[in-house]
């Protein structure tokens, strides 16, 4: 851990360090939120699909099925 290079005042270094830490935590939390969003989306779609399978012919959900499948 050798140093050198640009020297800043203690205050500006503190601001720099705080900003850097916040940026890294935002990156990390962003991924956690993205995971949660993706999980909710997959679960919702899966639930809808499962509901359609048993009584599909009787209830005539052909259009809904085509919309979900992107047909």
């Amino acid at each position: 851990m050798s140093g050198g290079g640009r020297r800043g005042s203690g205050c500006s270094r503190l601001v720099y360090f705080t900003s850097a830490y916040i940026l890294l935590w935002v990156l990390l939390m962003g991924y956690v939120l993205y995971l949660g969003y993706r999980q909710r989306q997959v679960e919702r779609e899966l639930r809808r699909m499962r509901e359609m399978i048993p009584g599909e012919a009787a209830t005539g959900k052909g259009e809904e099925r085509a919309r979900i499948l992107g047909a």
């Binding site: 640009r6 270094r13 830490y21 890294l24 990156l27 999980q39 997959v42 679960e43 899966l46 699909m49």
Partner: protein, 237 residues
């Protein structure tokens, strides 16, 4: 096999093991943050900016761990042909790319006040950037290939080949002339005891975080697989 996967609680929330992992990770991260932000003294020449080091090394270590898991899971898939191994490889690669991104960003943020540049084509930085692109490409490949078996087979081969860059990144500071500091050389640890303790706790906390994120991503991957199969059943059933 995979069709029987239960996905109504894909987050794993409510399971004792998951709750234990969440609690352990939060506790370890709080201890690590206390050590990094309060307990450990500043490095003499760099001052407070040196504290980014603990975040940087922990991220890099976990990126290596994540890609090693991708390697093991890829080999296991090719050997056993069981899709959960492929899902694990995909989940671990995703978290690995996140940690590599954090290692690169934290390295850049640390480098600027110390070396007075945002970026330099140093061997360690260059090979790490190549690593990031390799596994980002791996994720793109997983999203682009149709058919779960074909996707799993191609991804497994890619995941094994891409791992070649990990030892190159690790050894780059010994093989080539570099300005990247070599703090943890074998038999020669150039750290004060407080710094070493803080570093080890940070690495431990980030390893738990890796396990948690990988488990979450794995469950989402399994749910995604079941969704694809349900869609196929609707198509052909």
């Amino acid at each position: 096999m995979m069709g029987a996967v239960k996905t109504t609680r894909a987050s794993g929330a409510g399971r004792p093991n998951h709750e234990l992992l969440v609690a352990g990770t939060v506790l370890a991260m709080l201890v690590a943050l206390y050590l990094v932000l309060v307990w450990v003294p500043n490095e003499r020449t760099m001052g407070i900016v040196s504290r980014i080091f603990y975040f940087h090394v922990a991220s890099a270590w976990n990126a290596f761990l994540a890609f090693f898991v991708v390697l093991v899971a890829s080999i296991a898939y090719l050997w056993r042909r069981r899709l959960p191994w492929d899902v694990l490889a995909g989940a671990s690669a995703e978290v690995g790319v996140l940690f590599t991104t954090m290692a690169l960003v934290s390295g850049t943020l640390w480098m600027r006040p110390v070396w007075n540049v945002w970026w330099t084509w140093d061997p360690r930085l260059t090979t790490t950037t190549v690593l990031w692109f390799l596994y980002a490409g791996y994720l793109v490949l997983r999203g682009a290939v149709e058919g779960e078996d074909r996707r799993a087979r191609l991804s497994a081969v890619f995941g094994i080949v891409a791992f070649v860059d990990v030892p190159i990144v690790f050894l780059s500071i010994r093989w080539w002339r570099t300005i990247h500091p070599q703090v943890l050389a074998p038999g020669d640890i150039r750290l004060a005891p407080e710094m070493l303790v803080t570093l080890l706790v940070s690495v431990g906390a980030f390893t738990l975080l890796y396990a948690l994120l990988c488990a979450m991503s794995y469950r989402v991957g399994k749910a995604r697989l079941e969704l694809d199969r349900t869609k196929a059943r609707l198509h052909f059933g």
